[in-house]
């Protein structure tokens, strides 16, 4: 079976991650609020086509920007991947809301078609394809906390069966007031839980040369009817890896604190990433980016920041609203 590698990764998040060096060379940003907006790069510089940019909402700008960053080659030209898989839990929620309000408040008159067009789930994948003039496979997954994982699974299947040699996988979600308020009324933003947003892109290939790390496996589970440690052990076991070979478990614990406690008290070294990126459907993309960068840079979390230490395997454990539980396994590509 062919190995699959992450050859490039790009992230916009509530941290200063769009230029990854900035994130690893400085202290992490601390968001005091329960709503943590992304640190936006200058989209005008990144998406130079003003005619296309003017209709893009925040979600699309984020998604297109990390996608293009992953495809940008040393000479400035854009790499054309064979396939593109996108992921979003909520899609263009801001535009959906605008259009819905327009329907209801104006009694179905004076409708702005742009909001309708932008509301569909596949807009940033479609827009990236349009900007690239990409005629290949282009599919968007929208399944809560499995969106990012589903896009990765599809990409891995296609790289393994030879349908594609390279695949760009991007997951993105945006903060909207309605969702934030609805979750607030449910009492969700307590105990340090924060709403986040961001976009995470990964260029996957079969080429080991120059790779950041290897993406070994991705798994989803709902419901989780076993302990988090058992879930991880059976997952790594099915990949022929022992617990002692896993140097780090990145715990993306959403709200089920029992699992966080269980993992922290286990024999695994753990590091929780949700306080860096907040909570949203595709936040596992942040975990994947962090894991890949740590392996690629030969870093591990330390008491204050990062220390030089090469991890062999990193597991990313992600939870979404006590419902969707996913695992991803990374391996160094040395």
């Amino acid at each position: 079976m062919e190995q699959i590698y992450i050859s490039k990764a790009s992230t916009i998040s509530p941290q200063n991650t769009f230029i990854a060096d900035d994130f690893f060379n400085a202290e992490a940003l601390v968001c005091e609020s329960d709503k943590c907006p992304a640190v936006d790069p200058d989209y005008k510089v990144l998406i130079t086509d003003a005619g296309k940019r003017r209709r893009m909402g925040h979600l699309i700008k984020m998604g297109v920007s990390t996608s293009l960053a992953c495809l940008k080659q040393a000479d400035g030209s854009l790499f054309m991947p064979d396939a593109m898989m996108s992921a979003t839990g909520m899609g263009g929620l801001e535009d959906t809301e605008k259009f819905l309000r327009c329907i209801i408040d104006n009694d179905e008159q004076l409708l702005n078609p742009s909001n309708f067009i932008q509301s569909t789930g596949n807009t940033f994948g479609g827009q990236t394809g349009l900007l690239l003039g990409h005629h290949g496979y282009n599919v968007t997954y929208a399944h809560g906390g499995f969106s990012m994982e589903s896009a990765l699974i599809d990409a891995m299947l296609q790289l393994k069966d030879g349908s594609a040699k390279t695949a760009l996988v991007t997951g993105a979600d945006e903060i909207t007031t309605t969702e934030y308020e609805a979750m607030r009324k449910m009492g969700f933003w307590r105990n340090g839980r924060q709403m986040g947003e961001g976009s995470h892109s990964f260029l996957l290939t079969n080429e080991k040369e120059g790779a950041v790390c290897e993406l070994v496996d991705v798994k989803t589970k709902r419901p989780l009817n076993e302990s988090a440690v058992d879930y991880i052990n059976s997952f790594i076991g099915s990949n022929g890896i022992k617990a002692e070979d896993v140097d780090l478990v990145l715990t993306g614990c959403d709200c089920d604190y029992a699992h966080l406690k269980e993992l922290e008290e286990s024999t695994f070294s753990t590091f929780n990433y949700k306080h860096y990126c907040g909570q949203y459907a595709t936040a596992s993309g942040f975990g994947l980016w962090l894991g890949a960068e740590l392996i690629g840079r030969g870093l591990m979390p330390a008491a204050n920041g990062w220390e030089k230490k090469q991890a062999r395997h990193i597991v990313i454990y992600n939870e979404y609203r006590m419902n969707d539980y996913s695992l991803m396994l990374l391996k160094h590509a040395l």
């Binding site: 479609g126 827009q127 282009n138």
Partner: protein
């Protein structure tokens, strides 16, 4: 290995099961008519299912007082029928659910925002069904599917793309059977959306006709059970999934290119995957929405690929309306039925060929059509185009 279609389930304006749908198709009876249930100011015909959410819930044996999106209810009904039809045992095998939808629980979101607007108590539970994945989760819970579930949202090609992932999951042996298709409800959101794009016909749609003036919307769900031949244990099957491809037109956010580049690449890719030649296709179930842009672009692409020997083609959207994320699933099930009964279902409302091309769709029911291999097209916003090939 081969991927077999061992069961189908269809819910549309033609009826709540595959038999009723097939009967209406053979009789050339349309489900498109004036809107009755859905309250909207727009006077457009649509393929509406007459049952309310409460009635659908009761038919499904659910507590009608609980909150279910129409998307989930329609999907449950079609998927349940497909599982029963395939006689699929969920316990013995690894079974997945892959669903395509464009609007998720939008009918409930509309209720929420209407309540807010009217100063009424708006129920948060109506908002939490909004995302596309929520409808799939409810379906998985209802059907008892746990091994794998996901949702694809690529507008009108959603369920066709779902079928592609299903095949890959089967071939890689991650799953033994997949319940796959799509579901979408009629709602104010889409009626207003397509109104804002000025592509809803005020009359019945006329696919491939020179006077065509837009599409009619519809609602429904179509699901298939796909199984690997070696695990299907000699079960009777409708047909095999032979090939498929998705391509990106990369031309415009909502319109398809004049030369039909995306549709051409999708159909060509599907043939290559199936290792077939254009001459092997006996019938094309076209996307054929009835908009000026789609039909010309699709017919142009068909002409480019098939040259002088264009196989019989038709659009079944004249019967169901355009069911958006569900149409790939519904039309795949129609193709399975056409293959099983060796019958081509025609389009109607066709009088004059398009000036630019002169291509004529099938207008009469053709029995003993000698169908061995058929193609089904589904095109979505964002230039997302898909083509599937089924065969005996």
């Amino acid at each position: 290995m081969a991927t077999k279609v061992t069961g189908i389930g269809i819910v549309s304006a033609l009826g709540l099961n595959a038999n009723d749908n097939w009967q209406a198709l053979q009789d050339k009876r349309t489900g498109v008519g004036p809107l009755v249930r859905l309250q909207t100011v727009h006077k457009v015909p649509a393929g509406e299912i007459e049952q309310t959410n409460e009635e659908l819930a009761t038919m499904l044996g659910l507590d009608a007082k609980k909150t279910y999106s129409r998307t989930a209810l329609l999907g449950m009904m079609a998927a349940r029928e497909a599982i029963k039809d395939a006689n699929l045992d969920l316990n013995g095998k690894r079974v997945g659910l892959i669903s395509g939808t464009s609007v998720g629980g939008m009918d409930l979101s509309e209720q929420y925002f209407t309540d807010v607007h009217n100063g009424k108590r708006a129920h948060l539970r109506n908002l939490f069904e909004h995302d596309c994945g929520a409808s799939t989760m409810r379906m998985a819970d209802y059907l008892g599917i746990k091994d794998f579930m996901t949702t694809i949202s690529t507008a009108c090609s959603s369920s066709a793309n779902a079928i592609m992932l299903a095949d890959r999951m089967l071939r890689s042996k991650q799953l033994d059977a997949v319940v796959v298709g799509g579901t979408d409800p009629l709602c104010k959101f889409t009626i207003n959306g397509f109104t804002s794009l000025m592509i809803l016909d005020q009359e019945q749609c006329r696919p491939f006709d020179d006077t065509r003036n837009g599409l009619n919307l519809g609602e429904g769900a179509g699901f298939l059970v796909l199984e690997r031949d070696e695990t299907a244990e000699g079960k009777p099957a409708y047909c095999n999934l032979l090939g498929y491809a998705n391509a990106n037109d990369a031309y415009h956010q909502t319109a398809t290119s004049a030369n039909g580049e995306g549709p051409f690449l999708a159909m060509k890719g599907a043939l290559e995957k199936a290792q077939l030649q254009p001459k092997d296709i006996d019938y094309i179930n076209a996307h054929g929405t009835g908009t000026g842009n789609n039909d010309l672009s699709e017919a142009t692409a068909i002409g480019r690929l098939f040259g002088e020997e264009v196989p019989p083609f038709s659009s079944t959207k004249v019967y169901t309306g355009h069911t958006l994320g569900a149409c790939g699933g519904i039309e795949a099930a129609f193709c399975a039925l056409m293959l099983k009964h060796d019958t081509i279902i025609p389009t109607f409302n066709f009088c004059n060929p398009m000036q630019e091309l002169g291509m004529k769709p099938e207008t009469d029911v053709r029995k003993n059509a000698g169908l061995k291999t058929v193609m089904s097209n589904s095109f979505g916003f964002g230039g997302n185009v898909s083509s599937l090939i089924f065969g005996k």
